[in-house]
C-alpha cells in the first residue's frame, strides 16, 4: 500500500463526523440510581482490578486520591426532610469527549470499540484532559506509587502500573474486554457474547445496579436498559454524548 493510498484510505474511512458509530462494538453502561445504594463495593473492585495505588492519608489530605470510580453524594433538603442522593461517577466514555481533542500527543482517543482510551505510556502529563473533562474523572499520578511488600503481589498483571506524571482513568476494564475478545477468537466466534464482559464494578455490584454491554447489539441487556424511560445522562447539556447512562431514581409516595 503506497503512501498516497494510505492517505486516501484514511481519509475515506474517517472523513464522516459519525464514523465512530460504525465501530465494531460500542460499549456502554447503565447505572440504575434506584438500585444503587452507594455502598462502595464498586470503588474497591475498581481499585483491585486496575492496580489503583494506595495513596496514603497525606495524599488524600492533599486531594490526590486516585479513584477511577467514585461515589458522589448530594444531600437534598434539611432535617428532617432530608435525602441523600448518591451517584457513581466514572469516565463516561463520551463519544464527543472534550478530553480527547485536547491531548497534544494523542494519548487519549476514541478506539474502535467506542471507548475513550488512555495510553499511559504515551502520556506526557499536561493534565489538560483532566481540566477539559466536565465529570472530573481523570486522575493524575502526582508521584510514583508503591505497594508495600507483599501487597505488590496482588497487582493485576494485565494492567500496567502507572508511573509518576501520567494521567489515568476508568477504561471500562478494557483488559477484560480484550480477554473476552481473545476467548471469542479461541471459540471461533466473531463477536463477544452479551454479558461475557463485565467490568469489575459491574461484576461486583451487590445490587446489580450496573449493566454493561454493547449498544450496537439491539438485543443486549444494556441496549434494552438504555431504552428505559428513566434514562438520562449527567451533564447532557454539554453534548458530551456519553456512553454511561443513568436511570433516574424514583421518588415514590408512601
Amino acid at each position: 500500500m503506497s503512501f498516497l493510498d494510505r492517505i486516501t484510505e484514511g481519509w475515506r474511512k474517517n472523513r464522516k463526523p459519525g464514523y465512530y458509530e460504525d465501530f465494531d462494538y460500542h460499549w456502554a453502561m447503565t447505572i440504575d440510581l434506584d438500585q444503587c445504594s452507594g455502598c462502595g463495593a464498586c470503588v474497591t473492585a475498581c481499585q483491585a482490578e486496575n492496580n489503583l495505588p494506595i495513596v496514603g492519608e497525606d495524599a488524600f489530605t492533599k486531594g490526590r486520591e486516585i479513584k477511577w470510580l467514585r461515589i458522589e453524594h448530594y444531600w437534598e433538603g434539611e432535617y428532617p426532610d432530608v435525602k441523600l442522593n448518591v451517584i457513581p461517577m466514572m469516565c463516561q466514555h463520551c463519544d464527543s469527549a472534550p478530553c480527547e481533542t485536547v491531548c497534544p500527543v494523542s494519548a487519549t482517543y476514541h478506539n474502535q470499540d467506542g471507548l475513550n482510551t488512555q495510553i499511559y505510556n504515551r502520556c506526557i502529563g499536561t493534565r489538560s484532559c483532566a481540566v477539559y473533562c466536565p465529570y472530573e474523572v481523570r486522575y493524575f499520578n502526582y508521584n510514583d506509587h508503591t505497594w508495600e511488600s507483599p501487597l505488590d503481589q496482588q497487582l493485576n498483571p494485565d494492567v500496567s502500573v502507572r508511573e509518576k506524571g501520567v494521567m489515568e482513568k476508568c477504561t471500562f476494564c478494557i483488559q477484560r474486554i480484550r480477554q473476552a475478545k481473545d476467548n471469542a477468537k479461541d471459540d471461533g466466534r466473531r463477536r463477544v457474547r452479551d454479558g461475557e464482559v463485565q467490568p469489575a464494578c459491574v461484576q461486583t455490584c451487590p445490587s446489580k445496579a450496573m449493566v454493561f454491554g454493547d449498544r450496537n447489539d439491539p438485543q443486549s441487556q444494556v441496549s434494552q436498559s438504555l431504552n428505559d424511560p428513566r434514562s438520562y445522562k449527567v451533564l447532557d447539556e454539554l453534548n458530551t454524548n456519553s456512553s454511561v447512562v443513568y436511570l433516574k431514581k424514583v421518588e415514590a409516595e408512601g
Binding site: 438500585q35 463495593a41 474497591t44 494506595i54 432535617y79 445490587s207 441487556q221 428513566r230 421518588e251
Partner: protein, 756 residues
C-alpha cells in the same frame, strides 16, 4: 582543517573521551534491568503462566458467608470476586469482601510463631519455631488436662462456622473444658432472643426483601452491615424492580444509615423507641381491622396502651406519619418489618425486636414469600449457643480476675478492642498466666499473648460455611485454599489438631481438610437423590468447582401462632440510658461503617474507601445535626471530646444533615492502638466509652444507650474526605422521577442457584 597543535589535540581527545563516556552512560541508563524466568520444578496441572485460574471459595470477612471466586495468576491471588453461582451473593461482593486480598498480602501479617519475651503488650516478640511454640502450648494444656483441670482452659474464637466449629468443639471436649466461646461484636444476640421468645426458634429467619412490597426497617442497616448485606442488596434491588409494584422502603432510625439513604422514606424516631413505634403501628393495624386472627382480642389487650397519640409523643414521629405507615404496611402484600442493631442494641432491645416480630405476624408476613421465612433445616449451621455475649465475656473476665483461668486460647478475635473500657477486659486478661493467640496479626488482644501461633488466612486454608439466615433454603459452601501459604503459618484447624495430638487426645481427623471433607461426606450421605452423584469424590470435585451446594427445599412451614403467654409478654418499655440527661445531653450511636467491627481497619483499601454517607477516609468523626452544631458553635473539623460517664474519646465534628439533634453518631472501626501500620493510632474508638448497660433479655451490651456530652477542645483538624460540596445546587446531577415512567422493568434479578 585548522592547525592542530598538541594542546588542541589533547582537548580533542578529552572531548571525545567525555563524549563516548556520556554516550555509554546514556544508553546504560535507559536500558531495562534484567529479569529472571523462574520455571517450575514440576509443572502443576492447572497452571499456565499468563493464564488466570479461578478458585471458588467462601468469604470469611464477615458471617454472611458469601461465595467468592478468586482469580490467581502465576500462583498468586489477584482478585476476589463474588461467585455468581452462590445464591447468597450471586456474583456481588462488598468492599470488605474484596479487600480480603489485603488480609492475605498484608505487610503486617505474622510470618511465623512468636514468643513474648518481654512484658506483655510491649511488642517484645521474638521468632520461635513451630515445634517450640506448639510444645510450649501443649505442655501447658497437658498439665491442666492431666490434672483434670481442663476447665481452667478457655477458648475464645471469632465466630467460626461449619465443620471447623465442630473441630473446635471436639478439641474443647478433648482438653476437658466447656469454656469455648465464639465472639463477634456484631452477633445479633437480641434477634436470637427475640426470635426464641416470639417464634420459639433460636434461629435467624430469612428476610425475603426480594419479594416484599413494603419494608419497614427499624434500625437495620441491611444494605451495609446487618446480617447479609450483599444478599439484602440483591433483594433490595429486586424489590425495586419487581414489576409494576415497586417495593417501598421505610427506614426508622435516629441517624440515617446507607439503608436509610436508599430508602424511600426516613423516619427519625427517638433512639430506643423503635419498639414502641412498632407496637403503635401494630395497635393501628389491629384497631383498624387489618388483622382478623382468632387471637385478636389478646392482641387488642396487649396493644391497648400503644395508641397512636401516645406513640407519636414518645417516638417524636407525627401521628399522621404513623397512620400512613401502618396503613401502607398493612395494605401492602407482602410486607416486611425488620429490626437491626439500631433497634436491638438498646436497653429494651429484645422487647423491641419481639414487637417487630409481632408486627410481622399481625400483617401476615410470617412464613410468606416476601416476609419472614424460617429455613426448615439450617443444614450444618452453627448453633448460636456458643456465641458469647457481653455478659459471657464479662464472666470470663470475672473468672480471670478470680484466677480461675490458667490458659486462654484466642483465635482471631479482638475483644479488647470491641469491649467497653468499663468492662476492664484488658486488665482481666493480665491475670491469665498464659495466653495463646492464633491470630494472623498482632492486634490489641493478641499483643497481650505469650505465644502467637499465626494461622493461615482464609484464602490459604480449608473451611466451610453455612450461612444461617440463608437464602430461603439451605445452602453451604466450601472454602478451599486458593494459594499456597505465603508464610510459615498453619491453618487454625491444623494447629488445634496438632495440639490435640500433643496432649494425647488426637481427634478423628488428620487435617482440617480431612475434617471438612468428613463433614461434607455426611451431608452427601444424608442428601436426597437430587444432589447425589456417582461417588463422594465426584461430588467433592464438583462442589469445589462450583464452590457452593444448596438444596432448594423451602417449604411454607411455620405459620404457628404465638401462644397467649407470648402475646401477653409483648410490650416495650421506654428505653433507659446511662448518664444524666442534663449533664450528658446526647445519645451516642456507635454504628458499624465500612470497617466492620474494626477488623478491616488494617486493610488499606478499606481505609481508602470513602465512607458511604460522608465520604470520609482515614479517621473517625462525630456526626451531629447542623442545628446542634450551630447551637454549640461547632463547624466541621472542630476537634471535640465525647465524654460519657465512662470516659472520653476525641474526634473531629462532621456536620451531618440526617441525624436527630439529640443524637450523635460515631463510626466503629478506627481507634486501634496496635493493629499494623494502616490501622494503628488513627481515629477514635467509640466503643471504649460505652456504659456497660446490659439488656438482660439478650445479655448483650446496649451499645446505643450511652449518653454523652460534647466538649469542644478549641482545636481544629482537617477531616480527610473525598467529597467537595455535597449539594447539587440545582444542577440536576442525580435526577429523580416521581411519575409513571419508573414502571419499566429493567434489571429483574432472578434468584438462581446451581446445585452441584
Amino acid at each position: 582543517m585548522p592547525n592542530i597543535d598538541r594542546r588542541d589535540f589533547i582537548k580533542l581527545v578529552g572531548a571525545g573521551g567525555v563524549g563516548v563516556g556520556a554516550g555509554v552512560v546514556l544508553r546504560e541508563s535507559i536500558k531495562h534491568p534484567k529479569e529472571h524466568l523462574i520455571p517450575h520444578v514440576l509443572a502443576p496441572e492447572d497452571y499456565s503462566s499468563g493464564v488466570a485460574t479461578w478458585y471458588n471459595s467462601v468469604c470469611s470477612m464477615c458471617s454472611a458467608g458469601c461465595g467468592i471466586s478468586v482469580r490467581t495468576r502465576e500462583g498468586r491471588a489477584k482478585k476476589i470476586e463474588g461467585n455468581p453461582s452462590h445464591a447468597v451473593n450471586q456474583g456481588g461482593l462488598c468492599a470488605v469482601g474484596q479487600a480480603g486480598l489485603q488480609v492475605l498480602y498484608n505487610p503486617d501479617r505474622l510470618t511465623g510463631p512468636l514468643l513474648q519475651s518481654a512484658n506483655r503488650g510491649s511488642d517484645g516478640f521474638t521468632q520461635i519455631t513451630w515445634e517450640d511454640g506448639l510444645t510450649r502450648v501443649a505442655s501447658r494444656l497437658d498439665v491442666l488436662r492431666a490434672a483434670g483441670r481442663g476447665n481452667r482452659i478457655a477458648l475464645l474464637t471469632r465466630g467460626v462456622g461449619g465443620h471447623l466449629a465442630e473441630l473446635l468443639e471436639s478439641f474443647a471436649e478433648g482438653v476437658g473444658t466447656d469454656q469455648l466461646h465464639h465472639y463477634d461484636y456484631d452477633h445479633p444476640h437480641a434477634l436470637y432472643a427475640a426470635n426464641e421468645r416470639f417464634f420459639g426458634k433460636q434461629h435467624l429467619p430469612y428476610y425475603d426483601l426480594s419479594n416484599t412490597r413494603h419494608l419497614l426497617s427499624f434500625g437495620a442497616d441491611y444494605l451495609a452491615g446487618w446480617l447479609s448485606p450483599v444478599h439484602h442488596s440483591l433483594g433490595f434491588a429486586n424489590s425495586r424492580h419487581g414489576g409494576d409494584n415497586r417495593g417501598y422502603f421505610v427506614q426508622i432510625e435516629p441517624r440515617m444509615s446507607p439503608s436509610g439513604a436508599a430508602a424511600d422514606e426516613w423516619v427519625p424516631a427517638k433512639p430506643g423507641t423503635e419498639g414502641i413505634l412498632a407496637l403503635g403501628l401494630a395497635h393501628h393495624i389491629v384497631a383498624s381491622g387489618h388483622y382478623e386472627g382468632e387471637d385478636i382480642n389478646e392482641w387488642k389487650d396487649v396493644l391497648s396502651a400503644y395508641t397512636l397519640e401516645k406513640v407519636a409523643e414518645e417516638t417524636d414521629v407525627s401521628e399522621s406519619v404513623l397512620r400512613r405507615l401502618a396503613e401502607s404496611f398493612a395494605n401492602a402484600s407482602p410486607s416486611l418489618a425488620i429490626g437491626g442493631d439500631g433497634a436491638g442494641n438498646n436497653s429494651n432491645g429484645v422487647d423491641t425486636l419481639v414487637a417487630i416480630n409481632a408486627l410481622n405476624y399481625l400483617a401476615g408476613n410470617v412464613g410468606e414469600v416476601g416476609g419472614v421465612i424460617f429455613n426448615p433445616d439450617p443444614a450444618g449451621a452453627t448453633s448460636h449457643s456458643r456465641q458469647a455475649n457481653y455478659q459471657t465475656l464479662a464472666q470470663l473476665a470475672e473468672s480471670a480476675r478470680a484466677g480461675e483461668i490458667d490458659v486462654l486460647i484466642l483465635n482471631d478475635v479482638n475483644p479488647v478492642f470491641t469491649m467497653p473500657l468499663a468492662s476492664e477486659f484488658k486488665a482481666a486478661l493480665a491475670q491469665i498466666p498464659f495466653i495463646v493467640s492464633l491470630s494472623s496479626f498482632i492486634d490489641e488482644t493478641s499483643a497481650l499473648a505469650d505465644v502467637i501461633l499465626p494461622s493461615h488466612t482464609y484464602l490459604e486454608s480449608w473451611g466451610d460455611a453455612f450461612p444461617e439466615q440463608g437464602v430461603g433454603f439451605s445452602i453451604g459452601a466450601v472454602s478451599q485454599p486458593v494459594i499456597a501459604p505465603l508464610y510459615n503459618t498453619k491453618a487454625t484447624g491444623d494447629i488445634v489438631l496438632d495440639l490435640a495430638r500433643r496432649i494425647g487426645k488426637p481427634m478423628r481427623w488428620d487435617s482440617t481438610e480431612d475434617c471438612i471433607k468428613d463433614g461434607w461426606n455426611k451431608i452427601y450421605q444424608e442428601s436426597d437423590s437430587n444432589t447425589r452423584t456417582e461417588s463422594f469424590e465426584s461430588f467433592w470435585t464438583a462442589l469445589l468447582k462450583a464452590g457452593v451446594w444448596g438444596k432448594k427445599n423451602h417449604l411454607k412451614t411455620d405459620t404457628s401462632r404465638p401462644n397467649a403467654n407470648t402475646i401477653a409478654s409483648i410490650g416495650v418499655d421506654a428505653p433507659t440510658f446511662s448518664g444524666d440527661a442534663e449533664l450528658y445531653p446526647f445519645v451516642l450511636q456507635p454504628y458499624r461503617s465500612g470497617m466492620h467491627d474494626g477488623r478491616a481497619a488494617n486493610l488499606p483499601w478499606i481505609q481508602e474507601l470513602p465512607d458511604a454517607m460522608t465520604s470520609v477516609v482515614y479517621g473517625s468523626w462525630v456526626e451531629i445535626n447542623p442545628k446542634t452544631a450551630k447551637d454549640l458553635g461547632l463547624t466541621e473539623g472542630d476537634l471535640v471530646d465525647i465524654e460519657s460517664v465512662e470516659g472520653a474519646v476525641r474526634a473531629p465534628i462532621l456536620v451531618y444533615p440526617a441525624i436527630r439533634p439529640d443524637v450523635i453518631a460515631m463510626p466503629i472501626g478506627q481507634g486501634h492502638t496496635n493493629y499494623g501500620r494502616y490501622a494503628s493510632n488513627r481515629g477514635a474508638n467509640p466503643l471504649e466509652i460505652l456504659s456497660p448497660l446490659v439488656d438482660d433479655n439478650s445479655g448483650n451490651v446496649a451499645s446505643n444507650a450511652t449518653r454523652v456530652k460534647i466538649v469542644a477542645t478549641g482545636k481544629h483538624v482537617e477531616i480527610v474526605k473525598t467529597g467537595g460540596k455535597s449539594r447539587d445546587l440545582g444542577r440536576d446531577i442525580v435526577q429523580t422521577t416521581g411519575g409513571d415512567d419508573h414502571t419499566a422493568q429493567t434489571n429483574s434479578i432472578p434468584i438462581t442457584v446451581i446445585p452441584t
